[in-house]
């Protein structure tokens, strides 16, 4: 059975690129959330194996999403990767403190994302 991945990212291009990177090396069932709200809505619908989130999003930011997932009995075991731009080191640190399992700095090499995903899904 293919792994289910949730991507929360407000830039459609960035989302498409993350999807393309993932699809290039594995058979995943990917759900895309263009904002934090949609991510919250999608979470209970599927049993996700991995969440990838941006930090800077309108409505609910990535940190709030991390906090929600990692404090929720139902979701806290889902591995979570933060994808953020350089310059947001402080926010990234916070994310890791809140329980995010890894982070990637944009722009990232496809291999870097692939390696992380493999690590969490093997």
């Amino acid at each position: 059975m293919s792994n289910k991945i949730l991507i929360a990212e407000d830039s459609p291009t960035m989302r498409a690129m993350i999807c393309a990177t993932l699809e290039a090396f594995g058979d995943f069932e990917i759900q895309e959330a263009p904002n934090g709200f949609e991510a919250l809505r999608l979470l209970p619908r599927e049993k996700f194996d991995l969440v990838i989130t941006d930090i800077n999003m309108p409505d609910i930011n990535g940190l709030e999403l991390v906090s929600f997932i990692k404090r929720n009995e139902q979701y806290k075991t889902i591995p979570l990767i933060i994808v953020s731009t350089e310059g947001s080191e402080r926010d990234r640190e916070k994310g890791l403190k809140l329980g995010a399992d890894a982070y990637l700095v944009k722009p990232f090499a496809p291999e870097a994302l692939q390696a992380l995903v493999q690590k969490f899904l093997s």
């Binding site: 407000d10 830039s11 459609p12 291009t13 960035m14 498409a16 690129m17 393309a20 990177t21 290039a24 934090g36 709200f37 919250l40 809505r41 209970p44 930090i55 800077n56 309108p58 409505d59 609910i60 930011n61 940190l63 709030e64 999403l65 991390v66 906090s67 929600f68 404090r71 929720n72 009995e73 731009t85 350089e86 310059g87 947001s88 402080r90 926010d91 916070k94 403190k97 809140l98 944009k106 722009p107 990232f108 090499a109 496809p110």
Partner: protein, 687 residues
């Protein structure tokens, strides 16, 4: 990312343009607040997010210039929103300068990924702004606040700053706890947020894990406001919503009573409503919904159109079943037929709606051409004006896209070879400035596009000679002028270097013709030596779902797009005459050439074929008519045309395949190419 496809690049350019557009209008709004000093934090944050997104995106594509500049812009905006630097006119000017260069870069990348502009100077200017800024205080500014660590931990640096700003202003802090149904939480939350924003600032919205009910989700909204606890509670009085005041440590009293100057909030309160209504007028919210447009990937519309198509086909099956039941006098047949009719009407509306979404004014294409004309005219040293008419004519977006290359080709030819250099025009007694005209108009279900130039025109005799030289026609072949011009569209008619003698037409014109045929369109040439050339392209408005006439030849069914069908006739064999080896009939005082599809498809003749009356489908495009001889007419049906795919793309005479209600797939005839090829000579297709 390493493998950035052309599609990804297109998406990037689209999104980047959107971001720049929002940045531009947001910056303009920001500039208006320089004098008052009352900057809207949401507006500032929105601008910051724009630069931030652009930085991230361009980085992924390796566009170092865009990424560097937007990074520097982001840094300045970050300092601005965190209060490290203050807003003044000089800063606004630098930001606009940066925006202008970003715009040039993004547009440049659209033409060529290697395009670049030196961003050094403006990056320096932005750095200059930053060097004046001070550093933030090091102590934990929230140490004295009775606020849950879990709330502070999820605040981004910016949100922390907003929290501090609210405290500095002497506002009270509240925690609004709300629980909503999972299905509707965004609208519910949106409503509350709107109300809160009128009397304060929403600093953060934290979804909470400890919601008690299933299918519901709780939120902790951190709000700064001049209102007191009672007022805030009254404001939020609704089921499932609770308000708590956040006070300072060591007191149980909320901060509302610890304020040093109790009179100030009252004054503020009277100021707040006065400054907010002004905003409410221009949109009410600070969300960036300046434009009412949505950018949609055409592929998504294609998917939608396909689904509509499938629905139309499914509806066909249901109608058939309903009719069948009625035939069997089934009790519910009448109701089913009625219900199917309603479905049919709604479906037709849906189809029309989706179709309209796909329509774009052809000005999109014409504007592109106008840029080409301007650039090229300069390059080749000719004086040219472009006249555009009918730019508001609408056409399916995909057709517009696919038309771009052929149109570009024709216009390049017109400028390169059609229009003469100024001195030659003077000598010929023509105005020095050459004219190129682009005209579009709708004719029924077709759009006609004319590309005209007043250049030297095509010399039919030279074309003829060239064709003979190339062995495309026999020296003795008699051809009308129109037929001679059609030779230009033959593959192998000319090679680029030789054609300029013939005023340049012919460079890859077979490709142009193929492109247009692929769109079920047709292209014709009219030209007079010394006066100019007009190319006329006739295209269907849309390709996706069409009504088709289903016909039978032997035991095979085919579809003919109804838009090209003028009428159908039953013809006695005696009425068919042969002129110059071609079968024709007389139709209302004109001669209609016939084309036997069974011969085109090389079906074996049947025994009594020559004695039975036959059916003729009269098809027409532009002002040409042709009679297709078929065995039987089976009626009209909605069909969804799907392309044949690359493997079969060389097969001429078919526009694609269509799926029928009974899940049968049949071929759709390409009337345009059948007509032009049959009018030129013998044509056979293998099925």
């Amino acid at each position: 990312m390493a493998d950035k496809s052309a599609q990804a690049l297109k998406e990037f350019l689209g999104e980047a343009e959107d971001i720049l557009e929002s940045l531009s209008s947001d910056l303009t709004e920001l500039a208006e607040t320089v004098d008052s000093g009352e900057t809207d934090p949401d507006l500032l944050n929105s601008i910051f997010r724009g630069a931030h997104s652009l930085k991230g995106l361009s980085g992924m594509f390796g566009f170092v210039d865009i990424s560097d500049l937007s990074h520097q812009m982001e840094s300045v905006l970050d300092s601005l929103r965190l209060g490290k630097v203050s807003l003044d006119q000089a800063l606004i000017d630098v930001l606009f300068e940066a925006l202008e260069i970003l715009g040039r870069l993004v547009h440049g990348k659209g033409e060529s990924a290697d395009f670049t502009v030196d961003v050094g100077p403006v990056v320096k200017n932005l750095e200059g702004v930053l060097s004046g800024g001070g550093e933030r205080e090091g102590d934990d500014p929230f140490a004295g606040l009775d606020i849950d660590r879990s709330v502070l931990d999820v605040l981004t640096e910016y949100e922390e700053h907003r929290l501090l700003e609210n405290l500095k202003k002497g506002r009270n802090l509240f925690r609004v706890l709300a629980c909503f149904n999972l299905a509707t939480f965004d609208t519910d939350l949106g409503e509350i947020t709107e109300i809160l924003k009128k009397d304060g600032e929403v600093i953060s919205t934290l979804p909470s894990a400890d919601s008690e009910m299933e299918d519901s989700i709780a939120f902790q909204i951190l709000v700064g406001s001049a209102l007191g606890l009672n007022e805030m509670t009254a404001l939020m009085a609704r089921p499932g919503v609770r308000v708590e005041a956040i006070g300072h440590k060591g007191t149980n009293k909320p901060a509302v009573q610890n304020r040093p100057t109790p009179s100030k909030p009252a004054a503020k309160q009277s100021v707040l409503p006065a400054e907010k209504p002004a905003k409410a007028v221009d949109g009410g919210t600070s969300m960036r919904s300046i434009s009412r447009m949505v950018r949609v990937d055409i592929d998504k519309l294609d998917v939608l159109m396909n689904i509509v198509g499938e629905l139309v086909i499914a509806k066909g099956t249901i109608s058939e079943l309903a009719e069948q039941l009625r035939g069997e006098h089934h009790g519910l047949a009448g109701d089913l037929v009625k219900a199917t009719r309603i479905l049919e009407r709604r479906l037709a509306e849906l189809q029309k709606g989706v179709m309209e979404v796909r329509m774009v004014p052809i000005s999109q294409l014409f504007d592109k051409m106008a840029r080409v004309v301007r650039r090229m005219a300069g390059d080749v040293g000719k004086k040219i004006t472009l006249e555009i008419r009918g730019a508001e004519t609408e056409l399916d977006k995909l057709i517009t896209e696919d038309l771009s290359d052929p149109l570009l080709h024709i216009i390049r030819n017109a400028i390169d070879h059609g229009i003469e250099p100024p001195e030659e025009r003077r000598a010929a007694g023509k105005p020095e400035i050459g004219q190129v005209g682009l005209r579009a108009m709708q004719k029924g279900n077709h759009v006609v596009i004319e590309i005209h130039d007043d250049g030297r025109g095509i010399d039919a005799e030279k074309v003829r000679k060239k064709a003979v030289e190339r062995g495309l026609i026999d020296e003795k072949t008699e051809l009308s002028q129109e037929e001679v011009f059609d030779l230009i569209f033959l593959p192998g008619f000319s090679t680029a270097d030789k054609v300029s003698e013939l005023s340049g037409r012919g460079v890859g014109m077979d490709v142009v013709k193929n492109n247009i045929s692929a769109l079920s369109g047709m292209i014709e040439i009219a030209s007079r030596v010394g006066q100019g050339t007009t190319m006329t392209i006739t295209l269907p408005i849309t390709l996706a779902i069409i009504k088709a006439l289903i016909i039978r030849i032997r035991n095979k069914e085919f579809a003919i797009p109804i838009t090209s069908v003028m009428e159908t006739l039953m013809v006695e064999r005696g009425a068919v005459r042969t002129i110059e080896g071609r079968e024709v009939i007389e139709l209302r005082e004109s001669t209609l050439p016939l084309l036997r599809l069974s011969r085109v498809f090389q079906f074996a003749p049947t025994e009594n074929e020559e004695s039975k009356p036959c059916f003729v489908v009269v098809v027409g495009m532009a002002d040409k008519r042709l009679g297709l001889v078929v065995d039987e007419l089976l009626g009209q049906q909605d069909v969804v045309i799907k392309p044949l795919g690359n493997i079969l793309s060389f097969v001429r005479g078919f526009a694609g395949a269509a799926e029928m209600g009974n899940r049968k797939t049949i071929l759709v005839l390409d009337v345009g190419s059948l007509m032009s090829e049959s009018l030129r000579g013998e044509l056979t297709v293998h099925v």
